[in-house]
Amino acid sequence: MKAHENKTGLPLVQLGITRPEELAALFADLRGRFDADCARAHDESAWKQFRDAWLGRKSGVLTQISDNWLKPATPQLKRAVGASLNELRAHVESQIEARRLAIESGAEEAALAKERVDLSLPGVIRPIGSHHLIRQVFQEIEDIFFSIGFSVVEGPEIETPYYNFEALNIPEFHPVRDDMDTFYIELPKGAPTPLLLRTHTSPMQIRTMERQKPPLRVIVPGKVYRRDNPDATHSFMFHQVEGLAVDADITFCDFTGTVEYFVKQFFGPSVKTRFRPSYFPFTEPSVELDASCIFCGGTGTAAGGGTCSKCKGAAWIELFGAGMVDPAVYGFVNYDAKKVSGFAFGIGIDRMAMLKYGIDDIQVFFQNDVRFLKQFP
């Protein structure tokens, strides 16, 4: 700095310069010094000092040149000095600005390096709860049937034998009662009717038809109870969705079309269905609905070869029982069996959930282990 101060502090005459050609070396020297200074301005404060040294309004190098060289210059030198000074000024200004940007971005980078988050670390985890899987499956099934015009109704779990059995065409000592081992409620002597825990959601078929005339389409989600000893596939409480549709013109084809639609919505379009004739006292014709095994794709062969353990090689899995409402049932609700027809089904929700999610023990649903609940958020 001292060097140019010295030089720029003196008029050109004193520096012995009289001809324009001699200016070039002088300005080249200044420019060299500027570039060297510029390279040394590494941080913001050094840069500010450097900027003031060159561009300071009172004593900056450029001001000095203007005051000491340009203003007193002889007429033959003035134009050349002015041109050189402008050229130098343009260079100085652009380089100082460039230097500022460089320092700023450098500082930012350093700051970012210090503040950068570690994306592999977890965020703040707020506890969020979850739906029970059975509830999710209920909802899914409800939504499917709702979309094709089925309303949802609920009913009591503690029922009378009339609604659970008799009105469903299951008189006392009917063999089917042996398959539905029933819990009874202890009642004081003289109770007008025994009470039991419903063994299926079907009593709501009767209660709904008692309340409502056709056309009707309802589903009934709820808990049901059978007096089975608990094991991996049995629980003495489980869940069903009952379905019932009654109208003037409902046929077996409408029935198969409806349940097939449900199965494809629930398990996926590639799943095939078949209807096996079966027997329930409250439906006729009665069927068991089978789906092509969703584990082996209906081949009966496991992915790694060998027999599929889920369908035991049968390629089909039993889903649920259903059928056309037996005309005898209409007699209990004052419907004219000659004028109406309908269908009913009873879907085991726990079984559907076990099939869809590959659960092999029904008990996990009711243990409510948080580790299980977390698996189905």
Binding site: P156, P175, F183
Partner: protein, 699 residues
């Protein structure tokens, strides 16, 4: 029932391999649980429905096979040679209870030679899973498996007075059955007795007695082949808890016509394998002979029920093959496919359950093939409705999940003693009269019982942090009536916030529970910010100092609080546990009302001002009294009154506490000035000083 493939071939020339046959049978109504290939060929495990007793024998299954494959069924013709002596001279049958026994046939074979059965017979029994005993006993089992009709053989010489009396049980009657068990009997059970009828020699249609049993010393055999009333059989088996091959067949409804044929078949085989002399004729008491029903089926009804047509020929051949002998009876006879076509069918004796047109339609459809009826999705004719509380329940559930609670589902069967722990006074629980175990003897009278069990399960399985909820029911008994009430149960234990990178750990506290419940209460809050109200008290099984009753208006919804140490110890729970239970119907109703009445309130245009009041209060004065007094000033500009800080101890005189209350003021008319705020503050301080003796501390 085990169906031996080769045995079927005695009656129908089926050529389909066993697996294919199994599949065709399943799709026509006889489900096959599996096919096993054993030393005696393929055996199909037929799961015969309770409505198809005719399929509990190979002959009946063969009839199905013949119908499916349109093959002829070979009839059972049997003409054993008989001696000159007449059976009726050697045995008398007297049915005194025709309501229990509709037919009783007896045949007598003299001088049989009891010995082991030949190999072919033993093989077929073995394939069917029946142990071989002796030729005569094996033959009666064989005929049962073949023709589906159960028989019983007596040692003729042990039957007193050559006489069988069929009667109802006598008072306090007992019998020792073949299996050596002495059995007490119920009134109305059909008993086979001998002589004057005083001695029972068998329980009709269920099991023979020990005293007249066949043994290797038996010379003369009496063959019983009868028909018993199914409902009476089922009633008896349930009383006796005795289920036998015979009771299964009679209990579902055997074929009364088959009784004589099965007896003849049995006699034929005994002559063949045990020798002897068959007395001529059969003693046949048949008070229950039925006229065969005529049943009509029309194409119009087939179309109405099934929704698709099938050719006349298919209708006629399937019904014909099953024994219904269809005959066209309409005026368009001969017009193929007529919409007016009607057939009259005759109910075969082996299909008592087929009585109605719908029963015939099912028969036609299952033999024709259910897959031939094209599925279609019917159009809905009405709008569908969700449950009335669907939206409220969904919102409640979503809020709980947002608050961090996981939904559980529990089995309501609990131990009486557990239920009693949480049961409100004066409530009678719904007890089961036939529980599986004492641990599951009553239905929960509150959801807390099963919620506690769920928390225990988690604590016992290393999960110490749990926030759970259940939307379910509790069950109670009011006299002879049951009640089911929808409830929300909440259980929480462990950390409210776990130790993490950014936060320190904090245990769940009563304040967490209250805050979460109030967040639920907000769903029922109308335009006023008042959801639930809390009042002192609550059930005894909650901590006396950390509990409260939850109200919505004047309706008590339930209670919330911490489990006291004494109960936690009984449950062997070592950490703090919190519970709440609310009745849902009033909550849902309030949510619906609130949601329907909610309206937009324009946002204020002028700024709000907070003013803090640091109060020194006597311990007995709750925050709510302070807030109520401030509200009683009816300063419209007050938009909220909040407790910001609470402090007891150092620098606070004993018996007092320091409460920092923040009041927010806002006007809809303009920006509030200092003078206005000071005016309000003055009124507030004055009422708190006068009413509650509050001292204002410098804040």
């Amino acid at each position: 029932m085990k169906v031996v493939y080769n045995w079927l071939k005695d009656f129908v020339d089926v050529t389909a391999p066993p697996e294919e046959l199994a599949s065709r049978l399943a799709l026509s109504g006889t489900n096959i649980g599996g096919v096993e290939n054993g030393p005696h060929g393929a055996v199909l495990d037929a799961e015969v429905g309770s409505n198809r007793p005719d399929c509990l024998g190979h002959y009946g299954i063969a009839r199905e096979v013949a119908a499916i494959y349109k093959l002829p069924l070979k009839h059972v013709s049997t003409k054993p040679s008989e001696s000159a002596a007449k059976a009726s001279d050697f045995v008398k049958v007297d049915i005194q209870a025709p309501e229990l026994c509709g037919r009783f046939t007896a045949r007598v074979i003299r001088n049989v030679k009891l010995q082991p059965s030949p190999k072919w017979l033993r093989d077929r029994l073995e394939a069917s899973g029946v142990a071989s005993i002796s030729n005569v006993v094996d033959i009666s089992n064989y005929v049962m498996l073949e023709l589906g009709h159960a028989l019983h053989t007596f040692d003729y010489d042990k039957v007193r007075d050559q006489k069988i009396v069929v009667r109802s049980t006598r008072p306090d009657e007992k019998i020792r059955t073949l299996d050596g068990v002495e059995r007490r009997l119920d009134p109305g059970i059909c008993m086979i007795s001998d002589g004057d009828g005083s001695r029972a020699v068998g329980i009709g249609g269920i099991m023979g007695g020990a005293e007249t049993e066949i043994s290797f010393s038996t010379k003369n055999v009496l063959i019983e082949c009868a028909w018993f009333e199914p409902v009476a059989i089922r009633r008896a088996t349930r009383f006796l808890k005795l289920h036998t091959e015979a009771s299964t067949r009679f209990g579902r409804g055997a074929d009364p016509e088959m009784a004589e044929l099965a007896s003849r078949r049995c006699a034929e085989l005994i002559l063949q394998l045990a020798g002897g002399e068959l007395l001529a004729g059969v003693v046949d008491a048949y008070p229950g002979k039925r006229a065969l029903k005529k049943i009509r089926v029309t194409r119009a009804e087939i179309l109405r029920v099934m929704g698709a047509d099938l050719p006349d020929k298919e209708i006629e051949t399937s019904l014909g093959a099953l024994g219904f002998a269809p005959v066209r009876i309409d005026h368009n006879r001969g017009a193929e496919g007529s919409l007016l076509a009607a057939w009259e069918c005759t109910q075969p004796s082996w299909r008592a359950e087929v009585e109605r047109e719908i029963d015939l339609i099912e028969e036609i459809a299952r033999i024709y093939g259910l897959e031939k009826f094209p599925p279609r999705l019917p159009a809905a004719r009405q709008g569908a409705a969700r449950l009335p509380h669907h939206e409220a329940e969904t919102r409640l559930r979503e809020r709980l999940i947002g608050l961090g609670y996981r939904e559980i589902l529990t089995i309501p069967h609990v131990a009486e003693e557990r239920d009693a722990l949480f049961r409100p006074a004066g409530v009678s629980p719904a007890r089961l009269s036939n529980p599986l175990s004492e641990e599951a003897g009553v239905l929960r009278s509150t959801g807390i019982v099963t919620m506690a069990a769920a928390l225990e399960w988690n604590l016992n399985h290393g999960q110490r942090n749990a926030r759970l909820f259940e939307i379910g029911r509790h069950y109670r008994l009011n006299g002879t009536q049951s009640s089911e009430t929808c409830i929300l149960t909440i259980g929480a234990t462990g950390a409210a916030r776990e130790k993490g990178l950014y936060d320190s750990a904090r245990e769940f506290s009563f304040a967490d529970l209250k805050g979460d419940l109030d967040a639920i209460g907000q769903l029922a809050a109308g335009t006023q910010p008042n959801g639930f109200q809390w009042r002192d008290g609550g059930p005894d099984w909650l901590h006396a100092a950390k509990r409260g009753k939850v109200f919505l208006g004047n309706a008590e919804l339930g209670a919330a609080g911490q489990l006291p140490r004494r109960i936690a110890d009984r449950l062997k729970v070592r950490q703090d546990v919190f519970f709440a239970e609310l009745e849902l119907d009033p909550l849902y109703e309030a949510m619906q009302t609130a949601s329907a009445s909610r309206r937009y309130e324009p946002l204020p245009r002028f700024p709000s001002v907070d003013r803090d009041f640091s109060l020194l209060l006597a311990n007995r004065i709750p925050f709510s009294e302070i807030a109520d007094s401030i509200r009683s000033l009816h300063i419209a500009e007050i938009t909220s009154i909040e407790a910001i800080d609470l402090f007891r101890g150092k620098n606070v005189p004993p018996g007092k506490y320091s409460l920092l209350v923040r009041i927010t003021f806002q006007s809809r008319e303009g920006t509030l000035t200092d003078a206005q705020i000071n005016h309000f503050a003055g009124k507030i301080i004055s009422i708190l000083e006068h009413r509650h003796g509050a001292q204002l501390r410098a804040s």
